[in-house]
C-alpha cells in the first residue's frame, strides 16, 4: 500500500497528479490556504472579533473597501455589530474547522474499533454492529442534530446553548455518523483478515489484539482516510446548517454559518457582504475538501481503473 515503493520518483508523481487532476491540485492549495489562515487567525486577524468591548456600533454595516462609503481600516467591511468582517471570518473558519475535525475524531473513535471488531470477530457481534449501523444511518444526522439541539434549547434556553455550543455541536455531530467509519473498517477488515499474512501472524502466536492493531489497522488506513475526508466536509456543513438555524454557534462567537445567518436579515437592506463573503469562504472550504475526498476515492476505486 506504500505509494513510494511502487513509484520511486515522487516528483514525477506530483507532476502526474497536477497534469491528470488539475482540480485536485487547485483544491489542495485552496484548502491549505484556508486552513493555514484559520489556524493563524489570532496572529493575522486585524482585530479580535470576540472582544465585545472593542466594538463600536458606529462602525456597523460598513461595506468592503472596494465599495463606496467604506472605511479603509476594514478590508471586507463590518457586520451588524461593527465587527471587522475579515477577522470574524478568520475566527469563524477556525471554529468551523475545529468543530468539523473534532466531530470526525469522535466518529472515528467510535466507528473504527467497532468496525474492526465486527469484521474480525464476525458472527453475532458483526450482526449487532451492522444492524446498529443501519438503524443509526436511517435516522438522518442533520435531523437528529436539529432535534437534539432544539430540545436542549427548549429545555435550558438559548443562553446555555450559546455557552456550550462548541462541545454540544462536536458531540451531536460526532455521535451520529460513526457508522460510515464502522462499515468501511468492517468491510476492509474482512478482506484483510482472510489474507495469508494474518494467518502467518496467527501461526506465529500473535494475539488477536496484536493482529488487529499492528497488522490489519495499518493496512486499512487508506479507505478510512477517504471516509474521514468526506466526513469532515459533512461535519462542517452540518455545523454551518445548525448555526444558520440558530441552533449552533451564538452571534457573540460566530462561525461561518452564524455570520451568514446574521447577515441574511440585512441582505435586502443592501448589506450583502456580511452573508456573501462568509458564504463564499464556506463554499471554498467545502468544495476543496470534497474534491480532495473524491480524488482519493476515485484513485482507490477499482471499477474506474483504466482497462
Amino acid at each position: 500500500m506504500n505509494e513510494a515503493t511502487s513509484r520511486p520518483d515522487s516528483e514525477g508523481v506530483l507532476r502526474a497528479v497536477i497534469v491528470e487532476r488539475p482540480g485536485a491540485a487547485v483544491a489542495a492549495i485552496l484548502f491549505g490556504l484556508i486552513a493555514i489562515a484559520a489556524m493563524l487567525a489570532p496572529l493575522i486577524a486585524p482585530t479580535n472579533p470576540f472582544d465585545l468591548a472593542s466594538l463600536d456600533v458606529l462602525d456597523a454595516e460598513l461595506p468592503p473597501r472596494w465599495v463606496q462609503g467604506s472605511d479603509p481600516s476594514f478590508l471586507l467591511g463590518t457586520d451588524a455589530q461593527g465587527r471587522d468582517l475579515l477577522s470574524a471570518i478568520l475566527y469563524g473558519t477556525r471554529i468551523s474547522l475545529l468543530v468539523g475535525v473534532l466531530a470526525v475524531a469522535i466518529q472515528a473513535t467510535i466507528g473504527v474499533p467497532l468496525g474492526l471488531l465486527a469484521g474480525y470477530v464476525g458472527d453475532r457481534l458483526d450482526n449487532i454492529v451492522s444492524r446498529a449501523a443501519d438503524i443509526q444511518l436511517s435516522l438522518s444526522t442533520l435531523m437528529m442534530a436539529i432535534i437534539a439541539l432544539a430540545l436542549f434549547r427548549a429545555a435550558l434556553g438559548g443562553e446555555s446553548l450559546s455557552r456550550y455550543a462548541v462541545p454540544l455541536l462536536v458531540v451531536v455531530i460526532g455521535l451520529a455518523e460513526w457508522p460510515y467509519f464502522a462499515r468501511t473498517a468492517r468491510a476492509a477488515t474482512q478482506v484483510e483478515a482472510a489474507k495469508d499474512y494474518v494467518r502467518a501472524a496467527r501461526a506465529l502466536g500473535a494475539s488477536d489484539l496484536g493482529i488487529v492493531g499492528r497488522h490489519i489497522l495499518p493496512n486499512i488506513l487508506s479507505p478510512l482516510i477517504v471516509v474521514a475526508t468526506t466526513q469532515i466536509a459533512g461535519a462542517i456543513m452540518a455545523e454551518a446548517a445548525l448555526s444558520f438555524l440558530g441552533l449552533g454557534m451564538p452571534v457573540t462567537k460566530p462561525s461561518l454559518g452564524t455570520l451568514i445567518r446574521s447577515g441574511y436579515d440585512l441582505m435586502f437592506a443592501g448589506a450583502w457582504w456580511i452573508t456573501v463573503i462568509p458564504g463564499i469562504v464556506l463554499i471554498g472550504l467545502l468544495v476543496s475538501v470534497n474534491v480532495l475526498g473524491d480524488t482519493l476515492r476515485d484513485a482507490l476505486d477499482p471499477r474506474l481503473s483504466p482497462r
Binding site: I146, F268, L286
Partner: protein
C-alpha cells in the same frame, strides 16, 4: 398453487412490516412522552402562571397529573390514539390541528423538488455510468461536487439574490395565493402559488440532485460490470436497450433502497429551505415552536416526523419487494 404461496409470503411480509412500523411508532410516542414530562408542565399549558400553588395541587390531582408515570404514559398514548397530543401554547389550539395544517405546504415543496430530481438525475446518472471518461460526464460530476458542497441555505440565498432581488422575476418569500381543496391548502392551482414554488423547489432539489446522480451512477456502474450485460451486448442488443431495459431496471432496486434512507435528510433540508424562504411549512413551524419553547408543539412535530418516516420506510420496503425480479419471477411461474 405457487402463486397462492407467493401471495401468502407477501402477506406475511406485509404483516411483519406493519408490526414493526407500529412498534417504532410506540417507541416514538414514549420518547415524545418523556420529552414532554421532563421539559414541559402540562398544568401551566392549561391554567397559566397566575394560579396559586394550593389550587395547582388540587388541579394536578383532579387532572391525574400526580399519577405514577406508567399511568400517565398509558393516558398519553391513549390520547394520541384519539387524536390528542396536547395544546399548543403559542396557538392555543390542539397541536394535532396546528401541525397537519402545515403539512400541505411542506409536501408540495418536496413534491416540486422530487420532480426536478427525478427528471434530471436518471438521465445524468446513466450517462455518467456508461460514458465515465467523456467530457460531459466529468462536467456533470464536477458540478455535482459543487452542488454537494454548497449548503442548501446558501443556494437559496443566492437564488433569491439573483432572481428576486436583481432580476425581479420571481417572488422570494412565502407561498403566494392558495386554494382550499377539502382540508388541503394547495398552492399548485394558482399562478402566484406556482411562481412562489419555483425558487424553493429548485433550492431543495439542488442538494438532493448531486446525491441522486451519484447514486444512479454508482448503481449503474455495479450493474454494467455484470455478465448479463456483456451477454446482452454480445447477442446484439442495442446499447440503449441494454442500458435502460436491463441495467437501469436492476439498478433501480438499490436506488429505491438507498434513496428511501434519505427521508430524514430530506426532512432536514426541507426545514432549512423553509427557513430561508419563510415557507409556511412544518419545519418553519417547528423552529418557531423551538424559539418560543412550545413543548407540546415540539413533541407533536416529533411524532409527526416519526410517522412520516415510518410510512415512507414501509412504502420503500414494499417497493423494493415489487422491484426485486427474483420475487416477481417466483410469483408468475
Amino acid at each position: 398453487m405457487s402463486s397462492t404461496r407467493a401471495l401468502a409470503a407477501g402477506l406475511a411480509f406485509l404483516a411483519r412490516r406493519l408490526t414493526q412500523a407500529l412498534l417504532v411508532m410506540l417507541a416514538v410516542l414514549v420518547i415524545a412522552f418523556a420529552v414532554r414530562t421532563s421539559l414541559g408542565d402540562p398544568l401551566r399549558e392549561i391554567v397559566g402562571e397566575a394560579v396559586p400553588e394550593a389550587e395547582r395541587e388540587q388541579l394536578r390531582h383532579e387532572l391525574g397529573l400526580d399519577a405514577p408515570w406508567p399511568v400517565q404514559l398509558a393516558r398519553y398514548i391513549g390520547g394520541a390514539l384519539h387524536g390528542d397530543l396536547g395544546t399548543s401554547t403559542i396557538y392555543k389550539k390542539p397541536t394535532l390541528e396546528v401541525v397537519p395544517a402545515k403539512f400541505p405546504a411542506s409536501f408540495e415543496l418536496v413534491l416540486g423538488a422530487s420532480l426536478i430530481v427525478l427528471l434530471l438525475s436518471l438521465p445524468a446518472g446513466v450517462y455518467c455510468a456508461v460514458r465515465p471518461r467523456a467530457l460531459g460526464a466529468r462536467l456533470i460530476l464536477g458540478l455535482s461536487v459543487l452542488g454537494i458542497s454548497i449548503p442548501v441555505f446558501l443556494t437559496g440565498i443566492f437564488l433569491i439574490t439573483i432572481f428576486a432581488v436583481w432580476l425581479g422575476w420571481l417572488p422570494a418569500f412565502g407561498r403566494g395565493e392558495t386554494v382550499h381543496l377539502g382540508g388541503w391548502e394547495t398552492g399548485l392551482l394558482t399562478l402566484s402559488g406556482l411562481r412562489h414554488l419555483i425558487l424553493p423547489a429548485l433550492t431543495l432539489s439542488s442538494i438532493m440532485l448531486p446525491l441522486f446522480i451519484r447514486l444512479v451512477r454508482g448503481a449503474m456502474l455495479d450493474e454494467l460490470g455484470h455478465d448479463y450485460v456483456r451477454t446482452a451486448r454480445a447477442k446484439g442488443a442495442a446499447p440503449l436497450r441494454v442500458w435502460l431495459g436491463h441495467a437501469l431496471r436492476n439498478a433501480l432496486l438499490p436506488l429505491v433502497a438507498v434513496g428511501g434512507l434519505q427521508v430524514g435528510t430530506l426532512i432536514a433540508y426541507t426545514l432549512l429551505t423553509e427557513t430561508v424562504f419563510q415557507w409556511p411549512g412544518m419545519g418553519f413551524l417547528f423552529l418557531e415552536a423551538v424559539t418560543r419553547a412550545d413543548i407540546p408543539l415540539i413533541t407533536t412535530y416529533l411524532v409527526f416526523v416519526g410517522l412520516l418516516f415510518v410510512i415512507t420506510n414501509t412504502i420503500v420496503d414494499i417497493l423494493s419487494l415489487m422491484l426485486d425480479p427474483r420475487i416477481t419471477l417466483e410469483g408468475t411461474r
